[in-house]
Structures are given as structure tokens and as C-alpha cells.
């Protein structure tokens, strides 16, 4: 909220330097976001009074002025303007002054007569008629000010000297969405006096109730509705002081009645509304929720379809305003309005917040209502508006007040012991200090039997418990004065807890292998799944949908890391970063059902790795993945052809540990790559880190073998289709207790072996821990291996 410093000073006697004020405000929790300084392009221009005018002896068109600038000694200035007269107050640019148009004024002589500066026109001060009356008159600007302004800087007259403070108001401090609220906080921060306006005014003996009735049909949504009437209204411009304050605070002046409601809103925080009485049909105001299908045109000319949640202000016929949000077009104040009804009400904050969101209308009013208001301010604001009507002479106030009240207006009391406060803060403040802090924030506190009995002022709707009181004490006493206690810092401990274990290993390992970690958004669009060729009924399409996404392409929580990885690869290839080793560790969100119907989805952590053609192929990635899996789980995964359709049909494999699929690896199908504008080969591996694989246990030492191994090589012929990895599995399964190791050492593909055949060679190692094995002892195992290989793969020993 923007608070003009001058306005603040109307209520608080600030005797400190601005910087100090801002510092103190910040340290009591009033975040000053910005300080807009006064204008600095107009220097050394003051208000002067022309005491004496004489003709220039040598020039007909020039006059010599003696000007009182409040220093006791008149200044002589020669002017060419002819609209000046003795007794006029004028802007005087003294010697060595700067004007807003950039001109630098120095003393000099005009036709031999000394001139110590210049009298200014409105134009020279860059003023328009709307800025200051008479500003566009040809000649010197004649100021309509009091003589007490003589000698004052012209910036004061033009309100250019005002600093504006912008506060970031916490969601709990709706009372500070007002100048008065910030004045209270300023006084509390500086511990100085505050002088708030007392709203007094005269009204006639008539009664508003003779003209208007108010009925509140939704008392839980409108806990107070007050109204006053003003007649013989003269719609006019507001006085300059009011306009300047509104402008400085960021609002546009409109006319005296609307300006009064805005001024009071800024001053007190209570949004007000002014109705043109003749537009209130049947002289009735009804506060009710909207009916199904009802519509309203608001004063910005827009039509809105209403829902039954929306609270309306209606007359005898229909809606004339959306409560707390915006008035209807029809009841707006017009130039010919002669009777005005002021509304000052309190609506339930949740309802206003909802309505404002539903209809997409956010106003100064809805913003304040939806943060919560104090119902006693409704009354204060209404009276203040009447007082301003009287001060501005804008109309006559009709006696009587309508007040439909559905709320208890008593003050809250909170009881808390000084010990509680000290225990919470870690301080040892004495009771006097606490009482003093609380006094400064208007909390009337009594010490009764060792307990602080705090009466909370109505406007502090945020305070309702002991902890709040401790905060008030702390912020006024000063957070900076509370000591740092380091006794609770544990001794150095150097182990990292579980959830990070796998990620740590992966990052460490892959960094060493030359991979770069990527992070991409957790959203996806269905079009991403189209791009990776996911079938209509693919599980990947069973995704958590966001009700209010940032865009169609970010409408779901991702079920796969693949599309964003391929986008990352494409982006880099496109920028000529050809050598890519990338990975991302991220979550995928896998719902059991969509919509969720209250059940949270499963969240799995996946690792995706990608290699560009330049960085390596399937086997490069396979090696890295194998070793990584070993690092993670102490087990080497098995690979078997197969996997998702987005992979190259002949270059894809599933990875197993035990019987569990833990991931897959393969080259991206060229058609899928093309969807991402990738023209080179890309190899991808995906690892499910939530597959529930037991982590690597402690290594158990095994005796170093004392007896030699027997080695046997098997050279076999099989069909080319046969996967050697599975043959090794078969060998291991049938190798008997002495088989120590089975390795593939050669694959040879040639038509000389046979059409569609290949030769594979394995090297087997047998060993016993207790003796040197004989040929006899391993023959049985070898026979069984050969029999199985033949049965399962049609393998025959190579001749």
C-alpha cells in the first residue's frame, strides 16, 4: 500500500529522519518496500510576495519587482510579464535555481537593472490547469495560497515535496491497508504520539429510515450493514489537498462524492460505496446471495453471470452491486445526483475472496474485504465520510443511521504469563518492559496475579492467542536485541539420511563419468505423450490433471521423464552442443485412478540418462548403467531385448535385477526422434529408483582361492536372433557348484557358418575351494550346459 508521507504526518508527530523512520518500521515488521522520494528537478524556487512594482527606467515592457521571500530582505527581480500586481503571491526562481524544464536561472542585469532571479509562469514549472488552477494563463502564475506560505519551497505548494512510502502489508494485517493503520504502526515503532481524526459533523432532524430500508437476508455473510444519506448534493471536483493525497496513494480523483469514499477507504481501510438514491428502486436495499442465472453489469461496463455463492446488494427490483467487489453500472453517481446513500458494511472475507476469484474482478475494495475487516471501523468510516461531506460542503447530512448488526462488538481478551513470553522468546524481559511494548501497540494490559490480561483492540483481528502476544512483545522490543543461543546446535555429525542416498551415489558416479545433471519442469501435456508415440490406452496417459494449469502444454503432472529429456537433447543439438551426456533425477506421478477421488498418486523417482551420437552408443550407455546399478545396489543388472515402442525395435532392452524390471535402455526410434526434430541417434536409459531393490550390503570377505581353476572354452553355432546374454544365464543356471565364471569372448557372424547363423564363444572357469578339479569332475556340468543350450537355443558345438 502506498502511503504519502505527508498524510502519515497528518496523524503522527514524526520527529525523526526519514531513513531512521523506515529502519524502525522495518524492524517492527512493517516492510517498507519502496520509498519514492520527492521531485528533485525543481530547486530553489520559493513562494514570494510582490511588495512593490516599478517601471523599468529604460524599457517599457519591463517592471522591477521587490519581492518578499520571508528572509526580511526583499529581492529585486525584473519581469516582462504584465499580469503581476502588488500583493500577488508568485513562484520565484532565485539565483542559482533549477526549473522542471531544465533551465538554470542565475542573477544578471536586464537593461542595466540588476535582477536576482526570475518569476515563473505555469508553463515554466511544467504545470497544467489540472495541476494548479491558473497554470495555463498567459503570464506569471498567480498562486492562490495563504501568506503563511511566503518563503516556502514551491514543491510544498505543488505537493512535489512529498515522499511516498510503499508498504508490503502482511496477509494478517488488514488494518494496515489504511493510512491510519500505518500511522498506528509508525507511532508504535517510534514510540511517539498519534492524533487520529475525530469524526464529528452536523445532521438534520430528519431520519434516513423515512427514505430507505435495509434488509440483510444473509446475516452470516454480511455481519454489519450501515448507511447514511446526504441530500442537496453538489457534485463537483474535490479540493486539491484531497486530490493530491489520492493521486499520491495511487487512485484517480473522480468527483467529490466518489473521492470521499476512496479517501475514507485509504484512510481507514473500510471500503465504502455511494449509491445515487434515485436509482435505488422501491427505496429498499436488500443484501442477499444471487439466484441461479442472475446477471449484473458492473460500473466498468462488463456483464457477469452470477453463482449462488455471490453476495449481492439489491434494490426492490434487482441487483445494484456485487457486495464488496464492485457497484452496478445503474446506481453509479452521476453529474445530476442530488441524494447519496453511503454504504459502509462488513462482509465475510471468505465469500468476497471467492466471488472476486470466481468473477475475476479484483478491486481495492475486494482486496480489503477479502483480508478481513473490523466491524467497528464500518461505523468510524461512515461518520468520517459525513464529516468530509461537511468539510467539503458537498451536501447536507440527513439524520439517523441505518445499522444492521449481526456481530458481537466486544473486545477480545488474551491472558498470558510473562514466563510464557520469556520461554517462547528465550529472553528474560521484566514485566515492565512487556507492558511497555504492549502499550505501544494499543494493547491495554493489566497485571493480575502474575498474569498479563491483555485487551486486544478491535482492529487487531489477527491477534487471538498467547503466541501472538509474544510476537507483539518481541517485535516492539526488537528481534535484534534477542540473543543468539547456539547451545542447541548439535555436535558435528556427518551422515546423510536415507532419502538422498541413491541420488548422492548417482550424482557422484555420473559426474565422474562426464554426465551433466539437468532439471526440467514436472509438468507435461498430452501432446508430449503423442510425440513419444504413446498409445491411446497407454498407462502414461493416466496422469494427474491440474485444474488451473499455466497452459495446455503444462496441464498434467508428468508420468515420464522422456519428453522433457528429449526436448533438452533437441535444444542442445540445435545449439550445436553435440557431445551430450545428460541425466535427470525426477519424480513421476502415477495415479491409481483418475480423477484421484481423494487418493494421492504414487510418486516414483526415476533416473533418465541420454547420450548423443557423438558421446556414444548403446554399449557405451550400457556400460555406464551397469556400473551405476552396481554402485547403487551391488548387483549387475541383466538385459533382455524388448521395451517401449518409442525405442528402436532392434536396439532396446529391459533391465532386470532378480526378477524385477528396474528400467530400460535403447536407442530412440528415429520416428520419435524426428517428432522432436532430432536427426541423430540418441540413446536413452531409464531407471526406476523406486523399484524396491535392496541396497548393497556390507561386502563379505571371501577366501583367496588356493587351488587352480580349470578353464574350458565353448564355441557354439546358434541362430543370429539368439541373445547371448540369455545363453550366459542358462550356462550359469546349469553350471553346477564349481562354475565360477562364464564370459562371452567372441561373436562371429558370417554366412560361411551357415545362413542366418552366428558363432559365439564362451570361456568358463571351474574351481573348487578344496581341491584341484579333474576333467571328470566337470564333465557332468559341461554336458548339462551343452544339453540345455541345445534344447533352448538350438546351439551346436562348432566343428
Amino acid at each position: 500500500m502506498k502511503v504519502p508521507y505527508r498524510w502519515l504526518n497528518d496523524y503522527v508527530k514524526i520527529d525523526k529522519d526519514l531513513n531512521e523512520v523506515v529502519d524502525k518500521l522495518i524492524m517492527t515488521g512493517n516492510a517498507v518496500e519502496n520509498v519514492y522520494p520527492p521531485r528533485e528537478d525543481c530547486v530553489n524556487v520559493v513562494v514570494g510576495k510582490i511588495e512593490k512594482l516599478e517601471k523599468h527606467p529604460d524599457a517599457d515592457k519591463l517592471q522591477i519587482c521587490q519581492i518578499n521571500i520571508g528572509t526580511g530582505e526583499d529581492v529585486q527581480i525584473v519581469t516582462g510579464a504584465d499580469n503581476v500586481f502588488e500583493g500577488a503571491l508568485v513562484p520565484v526562481a532565485l539565483h542559482d535555481s533549477y526549473l522542471p524544464n531544465g533551465v538554470h536561472i542565475k542573477k544578471g542585469k536586464l537593461r542595466g537593472v540588476e535582477s536576482n532571479g526570475m518569476l515563473c509562469s505555469g508553463e515554466e514549472l511544467c504545470l497544467k490547469e489540472s495541476d494548479y488552477p491558473g497554470a495555463e494563463v498567459y503570464g506569471i502564475l498567480i498562486l492562490k495560497e495563504d501568506e503563511s506560505m511566503i518563503g516556502h519551497d514551491i514543491r510544498e505548494v505543488m505537493m512535489w515535496d512529498d515522499t511516498v512510502l510503499e508498504f508490503e502489508v502482511g496477509a494478517n494485517r488488514s488494518d494496515c491497508l489504511s493510512v491510519i493503520g500505518n500511522a498506528r504502526e509508525t507511532a508504535a515503532s517510534l514510540d511517539c504520539e498519534i492524533d487520529l481524526p475525530v469524526p464529528e459533523f452536523h445532521e438534520d432532524n430528519d431520519d434516513i429510515k423515512n427514505y430507505i430500508s435495509v434488509e440483510v437476508r444473509a446475516p452470516e455473510l454480511c455481519t454489519r450493514y450501515m448507511a447514511k444519506m446526504v441530500r442537496n448534493v453538489k457534485i463537483a471536483e474535490s479540493p486539491r489537498w484531497m486530490k493530491q493525497r489520492l493521486i499520491a496513494a495511487g487512485l484517480r480523483p473522480i468527483n467529490n462524492i466518489v473521492d470521499i469514499t476512496n479517501f475514507v477507504m485509504l484512510e481507514t481501510g473500510q471500503p465504502m460505496h455511494a449509491f445515487d438514491r434515485k436509482q435505488i428502486r422501491e427505496d429498499r436495499i436488500i443484501v442477499r446471495t444471487a439466484e441461479k442465472g442472475e446477471t449484473i453489469r458492473t460500473l466498468d461496463g462488463k456483464d457477469h453471470d452470477l453463482s449462488v455463492n455471490n453476495l449481492l446488494i439489491c434494490d426492490g427490483v434487482g441487483p445494484i452491486g456485487i457486495a464488496g467487489v464492485m457497484g452496478g453500472e445503474d446506481s453509479e453517481i452521476q453529474a445530476d445526483t442530488d441524494t447519496v446513500v453511503f454504504e459502509s458494511a462488513k462482509f465475510a472475507y471468505g465469500n468476497i475472496r471467492k466471488t472476486s476469484r470466481e468473477l475475476g474482478i479484483a478491486t481495492e475494495s475486494s482486496m480489503r474485504f477479502s483480508k478481513g475487516l473490523d466491524a467497528t471501523v464500518s461505523e468510524y468510516a461512515l461518520k468520517r465520510a459525513c464529516q468530509l461531506v461537511e468539510i467539503l460542503g458537498s451536501g447536507e447530512i440527513v439524520g439517523g443511521t441505518i445499522d444492521v448488526l449481526n456481530e458481537d462488538l466486544s473486545e477480545k481478551t488474551v491472558e498470558v504469563t510473562p514466563e510464557y513470553i520469556n520461554n517462547r522468546l528465550g529472553t528474560s524481559l521484566d514485566t515492565e518492559t512487556m507492558l511497555d511494548c504492549l502499550r505501544r501497540v494499543y494493547i491495554d494490559t493489566e497485571l493480575k496475579d502474575g498474569t498479563l490480561v491483555c485487551r486486544i483492540p478491535r482492529f487487531r483481528i489477527d491477534i487471538d492467542g498467547k503466541a501472538d502476544i509474544s510476537e507483539e512483545v518481541a517485535r516492539i522490543y526488537g528481534y535484534d536485541r534477542i540473543e543468539e543461543n547456539q547451545g542447541k546446535i548439535a555436535l558435528m555429525k556427518d551422515e546423510v539420511s536415507d532419502p538422498d542416498r541413491e541420488k548422492d551415489i548417482i550424482r557422484q558416479y555420473l559426474t565422474g563419468k562426464g554426465y551433466f545433471e539437468c532439471l526440467t519442469y514436472s509438468f507435461m501435456g498430452m501432446q508430449d505423450l503423442d510425440k513419444i508415440g504413446a498409445e491411446e490406452d497407454s498407462e502414461l496417459r493416466k496422469a494427474v490433471r491440474i485444474i488451473n494449469p499455466l497452459g495446455d502444454d503444462r496441464g498434467y503432472m508428468r508420468t515420464t521423464l522422456l519428453p522433457s529429456m528429449l526436448q533438452t537433447v533437441a535444444l542442445n543439438l540445435n545449439r550445436k552442443n553435440d557431445d551430450l551426456r545428460l541425466y535427470e533425477i525426477g519424480r513421476v506421478f502415477l495415479p491409481e485412478q483418475v480423477p484421484l477421488n481423494g487418493k494421492l498418486p504414487q510418486e516414483k523417482t526415476h533416473l533418465i540418462m541420454a547420450l548423443s551420437e557423438k558421446a556414444g552408443d548403446y554399449f557405451t550407455l550400457k556400460g555406464d548403467v551397469e556400473n551405476l546399478v552396481y554402485e547403487l545396489y551391488g548387483k549387475t543388472p541383466k538385459f533382455a531385448g524388448g521395451g517401449e515402442s518409442y525405442m528402436h525395435p532392434g536396439r532396446k532392452a529391459l533391465m532386470y535385477i532378480g526378477g524385477t524390471v528396474v528400467g530400460q535402455i535403447g536407442e530412440i526410434h528415429p520416428k520419435i526422434a524426428e517428432n522432436f526434430d532430432i536427426t541423430k541417434r540418441v540413446t536413452i536409459a531409464v531407471l526406476d529408483l523406486s523399484a524396491g531393490i535392496d541396497e548393497k550390503g556390507t561386502t563379505k570377505f571371501a577366501e583367496i582361492p588356493r587351488f587352480p581353476a580349470i578353464e574350458r572354452d565353448l564355441s557354439l553355432v546358434v541362430d543370429r536372433e539368439v541373445e547371448t546374454g540369455r545363453m550366459i544365464e542358462t550356462i550359469e543356471k546349469n553350471g553346477g557348484k564349481y562354475l565360477e565364471e562364464a564370459e562371452l569372448f567372441d561373436v562371429y557372424v558370417s554366412d560361411s557358418i551357415g545362413e542366418n547363423k552366428k558363432s559365439v564363444a564362451f570361456s568358463l572357469k571351474f574351481r573348487s575351494p578344496n581341491e584341484t578339479l579333474s576333467d571328470e569332475q566337470i564333465k557332468k556340468s559341461l554336458d548339462r550346459i551343452l544339453a540345455e543350450l541345445e534344447a533352448q537355443y538350438g546351439a551346436v558345438l562348432r566343428a
Binding site: R475, V496, F516
Partner: protein, 339 residues
């Protein structure tokens, strides 16, 4: 006898001129081969008078030994010379650039996380984790933010269903921890969080937080200051100045926002800190008693503090990154800078 003495001189003179191993072998054959001159001397024995034979014999052996030694010496010399030549020829320009070592990098955001984690783990905090799609009650209600409460405006939320949201902070992990564990609790909760912010240089709908929670008997605001000020000094350096200002969060009371000496300019003032020399780095406060009650903890017995910091912001400040979009774009030329 003279001729015998002469032979050794001839050997030495022959060897002197020999410059290759082949030549040396040739000379060796000439003198020590089966038909060599020295071997041939023994054949002359029969021409020697009987009584002179023993003297002659030992003389020949002496000559043979001398010759052998000479050959050995020559061979060694040649070997040495050859080695020296090889070494000389193998000289490299040691100032040439090293072969490129292929190392990757952990994402800068996670590097920052590791620094933060190390400090808190060192202070006795444990890392805990929780879901990113979360119940409204854990993300808001139990944290003292009822439905339609003005504080909801502080966090623009992605909704999945009426009662399910994409978490806006990692605070629900704190709630889950309190529901599950008895105090003392000392945890940090790192992770992704989501707000409906459109992407620009300073906003991202996805960003990362590390929040922390400390619940025990007699935990005070003074402890909060002690722990967090020390954290910032360990993170940014011993001379870091901290400033605790009152702030507002619905789940803490009192609440504070913390500024620390700007890491980029060291407090002199720079664009990152808008010339202030201090920069806002975290939010914190004493856990609101209502939050404790919601989690079944008696606020008369237990108290504690909670804090939260934005990793993205911390990372950007640390590395001087001016546009948050770099963090999620993954251009390897960006990522390579953090090796």
C-alpha cells in the same frame, strides 16, 4: 708372451671403435668365439715347454677375464647411450594443454542444496521427504491456513481436486513428520514446490525449497536466531552479518524474515541487493501453537521453530545468475560452468 699381452690391447682398441651392439658381438666372436683368438691361444699350449704351461695357462685366463670385463663395460656403455638417446627423443612439451578429462557436473541447484544440507546435517538435522502432490489439509489447513483464508493469496496454488493440491511449499513434510514422530524432531525437508507463476527472469512455476523444523521442549526464539545465524555464517562466511525482521507466516508466531550480508558484493551494495548490502535469504518463526495442536503435540510442553529458504534464489545469488530460466533450460554450456 708378448703376443698374449698384445691381444688384450687389440681387444680394447677394437672395442673403442665399435658403436653398435652388432659390432661388439662381431668383435666378441673374433676374440672369444670358439675359433676366436683368445680361445686359439689355448691351442698353442702344446708348443709351450712343460714347465711354462701353468704360467701360460693362468695368463690366458687372466686375459680372457680382462676381455670379458671390457666387453661388459662396452655393452653397458652402449645401453646407457641408447637409453639416453631414447629419453632425449621422448622429450615432450610439458606446457602443452592436458588431455580433456571428461567429467560432468551436478546441477548448480543441487550443489547449493548439498552445501545447505551439509551444514544442517552437521548441526544434527536429518533429511526427510514427502509427496509433491499433497492433501490440502497438509499443505494448508493444518498449517493454520483454512480455506478462503487471506493467507492463501500468498501462495498461488495449482489445484488437482478440491482437497488435493500440488504442494506450494515443503511444509506439509513437516506436518507429516510431526504426525509420525515424537519430539525431539530436527529435520530438513528439501524438494520441489509449485506456484502458478508465469515463467520470467525471476519467476518459475517450479522451484526448490529447503525447509526445516526443530521441535523439542524449551525451544525459544533465541535458539532460532542462534541456529539460523550460525547456518548463514557457515554458508556465506564467518563475517556474515544477519538481520532478523518481523514478518508474517500463518504457521509461525512470532515470524521473521532474515537478511544476510550480500554474498556478491560483501555488503558494499550491488545490483543484486539493490545497493542495500543485505539480501533477504530466509523466512522463519516459532511454530504456531495451533499447528502443534493440529499435529497432536501439546504446545504447553513442546515448542519449536521452522524455517524455509528458496534454493533457486540462493543458487542465483551464489553464482550471480541473473535469469532463473537458465536453471531449467539445461544448455550444457551453462551446466559445464559448474564442474
Amino acid at each position: 708372451m708378448e703376443s698374449i699381452e698384445k691381444i688384450i690391447e687389440e681387444v680394447l682398441s677394437d672395442l673403442k671403435d665399435a658403436s653398435t651392439n652388432e659390432k661388439v658381438s662381431e668383435i666378441r666372436v673374433k676374440y672369444l668365439g670358439k675359433k676366436g683368438l683368445i680361445s686359439g691361444l689355448m691351442k698353442n699350449m702344446k708348443d709351450i715347454p712343460q714347465e711354462e704351461r701353468p704360467v701360460f695357462g693362468s695368463k690366458v685366463n687372466e686375459i680372457r677375464a680382462k676381455a670379458e670385463a671390457a666387453f661388459q663395460e662396452k655393452t653397458n656403455k652402449l645401453k646407457e647411450a641408447a637409453l639416453e638417446l631414447k629419453l632425449r627423443s621422448e622429450k615432450i612439451d610439458v606446457t602443452l594443454p592436458a588431455k580433456e578429462v571428461q567429467t560432468g557436473a551436478i546441477h548448480p541447484l543441487n550443489q547449493t542444496y548439498y552445501e545447505v544440507r551439509k551444514i544442517f546435517v552437521g548441526m544434527g538435522f536429518e533429511v526427510v521427504d514427502g509427496p509433491e502432490i499433497e492433501y490440502d489439509k497438509y499443505n494448508f489447513e493444518m498449517l493454520n491456513i483454512p480455506k478462503d483464508h487471506p493467507a492463501r493469496d500468498m501462495q498461488d496454488t495449482f489445484y488437482i481436486e478440491d482437497d488435493i493440491v500440488v504442494r506450494t511449499h515443503t511444509s506439509p513434510v513437516q506436518i507429516r513428520t510431526m504426525l509420525k514422530h515424537e519430539p525431539p524432531i530436527r529435520v530438513i525437508c528439501p524438494g520441489r514446490v509449485y506456484r502458478t507463476d508465469d515463467v520470467d527472469a525471476t519467476h518459475s512455476p517450479v522451484f526448490n525449497q529447503v525447509e526445516g523444523l526443530y521441535i523439542d521442549k524449551n525451544v525459544t526464539f533465541s535458539d532460532l536466531k542462534g541456529v539460523l545465524a550460525e547456518f548463514l555464517r557457515r554458508l556465506y562466511g564467518k563475517s556474515t552479518v544477519t538481520k532478523f525482521r518481523p514478518g508474517f507466516f500463518p504457521f509461525t508466531e512470532p515470524s521473521a524474515e532474515v537478511d544476510a550480508t550480500c554474498a556478491l558484493c560483501g555488503g558494499k551494495g550491488c545490483p543484486a541487493c539493490k545497493g542495500a548490502g543485505m539480501i533477504e535469504v530466509l523466512g522463519c518463526g516459532m511454530v504456531n501453537p495451533r499447528v502443534l495442536e493440529n499435529c497432536g503435540l501439546d504446545p504447553e510442553v513442546y515448542s519449536g521453530f521452522a524455517f524455509g529458504l528458496g534454493l533457486d534464489r540462493l543458487t542465483n545469488i551464489k553464482y550471480g545468475i541473473t535469469d532463473i530460466r537458465h536453471l531449467y533450460e539445461n544448455d550444457v554450456r551453462f551446466l559445464k560452468q559448474f564442474r
